[in-house]
């Protein structure tokens, strides 16, 4: 661990000012960040403790949604009765991730900002364009079991590892961000994380000095909510593939199909064409196959992760069948 100064954030503006320096990083739960400090994957000069900021509440919004403060623990979100009644898929996704001890410490904002678990990113003796721009990508010709099949670039094939954000993308939640000079902005979760392109070191759209203050869930919608996470061991493993779905039917017709996918890309994957295809249609295996065709149209494997392509198809079809009541 490289020695650093530890500062305490004295209000949001102060936190933003401190974090405007690119060698300064905020810390909340630290469940991912502290590991990366020890490994010297992260080597900030200054770390700002933002836990004193008043961002720890869950409040209902005027339009019937829910605002979850950036410092609310994952456990607190998962056990919140409003979440469990109206957005149960969010609680399920959180409980599908990490362990009880980690969820007790991990926060809403930190969870969104967690970094990839790519083996090459976390090993400073290996090349990684995300960690060290220009050093190359060890995974493309190396061990790529965990890695992305959608939206990759020649520079990076890492995945975003989380579960919560996948569901937030399906629910079309919004990220509330505080910026310099008391400015604020709102970014849809679907646009918060980015694809690696030629700047894989940028995980998301946060600029230096910006702090996540909350995540807002839109008003609850009718329909079945499913989060299906596929992994070889049944807990404490990142998704090989995960599917978050909110599906509603009117008689035999699909009226809502909000879907997002984990384990496939550098971001929670949301493809609006899938809802366009499904809504208004009668569910059938053929239709589900078409949805999978759309999802995986441009999928590309890197050897060891080729299996994710058929696995994503099968998992998507199984989730759609479950949510629409079709017997596959």
């Amino acid at each position: 661990m490289k020695p650093f100064d530890l500062q305490r954030a004295d209000g949001l503006a102060h936190a933003g000012q401190l974090c405007a320096d690119k060698h300064t990083a905020p810390i909340a739960g630290g469940t991912n960040f502290v590991d990366l400090l020890k490994l010297e994957v992260e080597t900030p000069s200054t770390v700002v403790n933002i836990n004193p900021l008043p961002l720890g509440g869950i409040e209902e919004t005027a339009d019937g949604g829910l605002s979850i403060g950036a410092l609310v623990s994952n456990t607190a979100t998962a056990v919140d009765m409003r979440v469990r009644e109206n957005w149960p898929v969010l609680a399920r996704a959180i409980l599908a991730g990490a362990t009880q001890q980690l969820r007790n410490k991990a926060t809403t904002g930190g969870n969104l900002c967690q970094r990839t678990r790519c083996y090459y990113f976390t090993n400073i003796d290996q090349p990684c364009n995300k960690r060290e721009p220009g050093s190359g990508c060890g995974a493309i010709k190396g061990v790529a079991r965990l890695h992305a099949v959608l939206g990759t670039s020649d520079h990076c094939i890492a995945t975003y590892p989380g579960d919560m954000a996948v569901v937030l993308a399906a629910l079309d939640a919004q990220v509330e961000i505080a910026g310099p000079k008391d400015s604020t902005r709102t970014v849809p979760v679907r646009d918060f994380h980015r694809l690696p392109g030629d700047q894989p070191w940028k995980d998301n759209v946060l600029e230096d000095g910006e702090i996540i203050t909350a995540v807002t869930l839109p008003a609850p919608v009718a329909g079945r909510q499913v989060y299906r996470k596929v992994r070889e061991r049944s807990s404490y493993a990142f998704a090989l593939v995960s599917v978050a779905a909110v599906i509603d039917m009117d008689g035999d017709s699909i009226t809502r199909a909000d879907l997002a996918f984990g384990g496939l890309a550098h971001k929670p994957w949301h493809d609006p064409r899938i809802a366009d295809l499904l809504v208004g249609q009668s569910p059938s295996e053929a239709l589900f196959d078409k949805a999978a065709d759309l999802l995986l149209e441009e999928a590309q494997g890197y050897g060891e992760n080729d299996f994710k392509i058929p696995l994503a198809r099968r998992t998507l079809k199984a989730v759609l069948a479950e949510a629409t009541g079709v017997k596959p």
Binding site: N123, D125, V143, A237, F307, P310
Partner: protein
């Protein structure tokens, strides 16, 4: 007093059964359990030693080459750094189990990615770790592509000791009505003990004292002496509590050697603890394997041909080759036999012993192949196994000591509710999950080793046992207090067991499942001597001794002792029994699994192991050993695999987040049947090894259950969802 017993014959006296205390075999909790769960049992790194410096190893970022220069000045300019040590005595690999000599030394020559090349010593751990990550050094790395990393294309040697040929297997395969010829692959494993490798070394100018996490101080003291150039009498090794070994702590590893050399150079205590990544990369792992199994059977299902071949890998110069075929030598009959073990020389980290070396991957493969044969013949797989249990060792012709395989298969099947009806896949489904069952045999060769222990009756009538034998979480403290308690007529809590200190008599060490039978026999021998003395003092014959709860024939033992202690050194050695018999623990595994028909995920829903390993010394710790073996079986079957980078051979998933041992949620209720039958030819206490048996074949039962559930016949362990999907018929 000294007592020596060399066992040439089966010992049918069953001396433990003559005890009146009634504690042997009982399900007693381990005496050190409370200290362990309350955090007060000190593990090697936890001793508080004044002025202790902290060392962190620096590792090589390339597969093969040499270090040409280290910028020590730059490191010494960093906060807190006291020394950069690259002494040529430093070791670059762990010593193999029972080596009793230094492993490869000289950190300047690099043979694998992640090899230690230097030690940074600093005032604090954080300072040392930071400097270790930032030490500037120059190196010449051999070009990628010129370094052999892939076992299949690397130069290979035949391990003659593990190979044999008898009759004509090729002919048997040609003429038998039923044959299978199958190729399998297994991946590398690590021990993943919770306690990382750690040592604190102290040097007083003459004598080196080291607290280190080791399994075999009796060999490790010689290794450490050889590494440092000291005489053994000037080395003391202490391993009182060891947080899991599983083979990874058999030999002195790089951290202990480095701590010792640093302490000697700096004349200050030095602690070195490996990071999880270092433990996984620089400590021995189980070799990956490629295996071929050929089985030929007559129309009744009796084997006429048996072939098992394997290719494993290790670094050049390492004597250890994963003994994949160890149980194949004697488990099943078949007159035409061929066993062949080859070893590829590659530059990945050291391959060494991980729990049940050999059987852990050889048995699941053999047992998976037996399932294919049973299907080919159309015979129940339990029946197939029962038909092929040989009368004598089919290789050597030696008789077996107590042989429990048939018993375990039959009683295990009964207890599990094995259905010997039709075995077609996909007969049972619950929603999205196919359900199926599978069976496999268990076998693990039994060894005993020379062992010494001192047993002392104290003037107050209590007793103590002293040996440098270790308890690596297995229950040594418990069982030795029971053996001594039974023989000396004391409740176990009146027997103080002191382990893991080379100032005590040499035990056998914990490894190869031989610890309990060997050291237990030494304690028995010492106690027998003490009983003789007590009988003399009491004026009775030894066989008239009635001794329990500290009373001998109605008189307190403390009175007989007359204020003096009575002490005996017990020395046990296996004699001709080791040459005259083939001895093995046996068992049978039964598993029920659920296979998701969409995703290929596999979850074990039920598992039972029936085991026969001679006498049960402690029903609780023995059962725990078996349960641990079943858990490892599940990991071997479903999740555990080292992922080696194809370009530099480093282990990509070198932490517990990405190397997937099973979690609690993966483990269903596990049943263990211990089918006790005393084995007089196994040891003086009629007990056999048990620490590894529980995983010798279990993964095969799960593989067979996966097929029975889903129709996916898979030829690679672990059977992760991608492989299940690939093998499912409708995919």
């Amino acid at each position: 007093m000294n007592a020596y017993f060399k066992q040439d014959e089966p010992d049918t006296r069953n001396l433990l059964d003559t005890g009146k205390q009634g504690v042997i075999g009982k399900a007693l909790s381990r005496p050190e359990g409370l200290a362990k769960v309350t955090g007060t049992a000190p593990y090697s790194a936890e001793y508080q030693i004044d002025g202790c410096l902290e060392g962190v190893l620096v590792t090589a970022p390339f597969a093969r080459g040499r270090i040409t220069a280290i910028d020590k000045k730059a490191a010494l300019a960093m906060d807190g750094v006291i020394a950069v040590i690259d002494d040529p005595r430093m070791t670059t690999r762990p010593a193999q189990g029972t080596a009793a000599a230094a492993p490869e030394q000289g950190p300047g020559e690099v043979d694998y990615f992640g090899q230690p090349i230097a030690l940074i010593v600093a005032e604090t751990f954080e300072q040392a770790r930071h400097a270790a990550k930032n030490l500037p050094f120059d190196y010449e790395a051999d070009e990628i592509g010129s370094v052999p990393l892939d076992p299949e294309s690397a130069p290979r040697e035949t391990d003659d000791g593990s190979s044999m040929s008898k009759g004509d297997l090729a002919h048997a395969m040609k003429t038998a009505p039923h044959t299978v010829d199958l190729r399998y692959r297994t991946h590398g494993h690590v021990s993943a003990a919770i306690e990382p490798h750690a040592a604190i070394a102290q040097w007083d100018g003459t004598k080196l004292t080291v607290h280190a996490a080791q399994q075999m101080p009796n060999y490790n003291i010689a290794e450490l002496a050889d590494i440092t150039g000291l005489d053994e009498e000037n080395v003391r090794l202490i391993s009182r509590y060891v947080g899991g070994g599983f083979g990874s702590k058999l030999g002195v590893a790089e951290e202990t050697a480095a701590a010792a050399i640093a302490a000697m150079q700096l004349s200050r205590p030095v602690r070195v603890v490996m990071s999880r990544q270092q433990v996984m990369q620089a400590i021995g792992h189980r070799s990956e394997s490629r295996q071929r199994v050929r089985l030929a059977a007559d129309s009744g299902g009796v084997l006429t041909g048996f072939g098992h071949e394997a290719l494993v890998a290790n670094l050049p110069g390492e004597s250890f080759a994963e003994p994949v075929l160890q149980s194949s030598q004697f488990l099943y009959g078949g007159d035409n036999r061929l066993l062949k073990l080859e070893i590829a020389r590659i530059h990945r980290s050291t391959a060494a012993s991980v729990r049940a070396p050999g059987e852990a991957v050889g048995m699941p493969v053999l047992e998976a192949a037996m399932d294919v044969l049973a299907e080919e013949i159309g015979i129940d797989p339990v029946e197939l196994r029962l038909k092929n249990i040989p009368e004598k060792d089919p290789d050597t012709g030696l008789p077996f000591t107590e042989h429990g395989l048939a018993r375990c298969l039959k009683e295990g099947a009964e207890a599990f509710g094995w259905d010997s009806g039709p075995r077609q896949p996909r007969l049972k489904r619950d929603g999205d999950w196919w359900i199926g069952t599978g069976v496999a045999s268990a076998a693990r060769v039994h060894n005993v080793a020379e062992a010494k222990a001192r047993v002392t009756l104290n003037p107050d009538g209590t007793a103590s046992v002293q040996t440098d034998m270790t308890d690596i979480g297995t229950g040594t403290y418990a069982i030795l207090s029971q053996i001594a308690g039974e023989m000396l007529g004391l409740p176990p809590e009146k027997v103080l067991v002191q382990l893991g200190d080379t100032d005590f008599p040499r035990g056998p060490g914990s490894g190869g499942s031989w610890g309990a039978a060997s050291i237990g026999s030494a304690v028995l021998v010492a106690c027998e001597e003490l009983r003789g003395s007590l009988a003399e003092k009491a004026g009775v014959n030894s066989d008239e001794l009635d001794i329990a709860d500290g009373m001998l024939n109605g008189q307190p033992v403390s009175d007989l002792l007359g204020g003096k202690e009575l002490s005996a050194l017990g020395h046990y050695e296996p004699g001709k029994i080791a040459d005259d018999y083939t001895s093995s623990g046996f068992g049978a595994f039964f598993a029920e699994v659920r296979v998701n028909r969409h995703t290929g995920e596999v979850r074990v829903s039920r598992m039972l192991g029936a085991f026969a390993f001679g006498r049960v010394l402690n029903a609780k710790t023995a059962r725990s050993q078996c349960i641990g073996g079943l858990v490892w079986s599940i990991g071997t079957a479903l999740t555990e695999a080292l992922l080696f980078d194809p370009n530099d051979g480093h282990i990509a998933n070198a932490d517990l987040a990405e190397y997937h041992v099973p979690v609690h949620r993966d483990i269903p209720a596990l049943d263990v049947l211990m089918l006790e039958k005393k084995d007089a030819a196994a040891s003086a206490i009629q007990a056999k090894g048990i620490g590894e048996l529980g995983m010798c074949g279990g993964a095969g039962a799960i593989a067979n259950a996966i097929y029975n559930a889903s129709g996916a016949r898979i030829f690679e362990f672990p059977m992760t969802p991608d492989k299940v999907l690939q093998a499912m018929e409708d995919n």
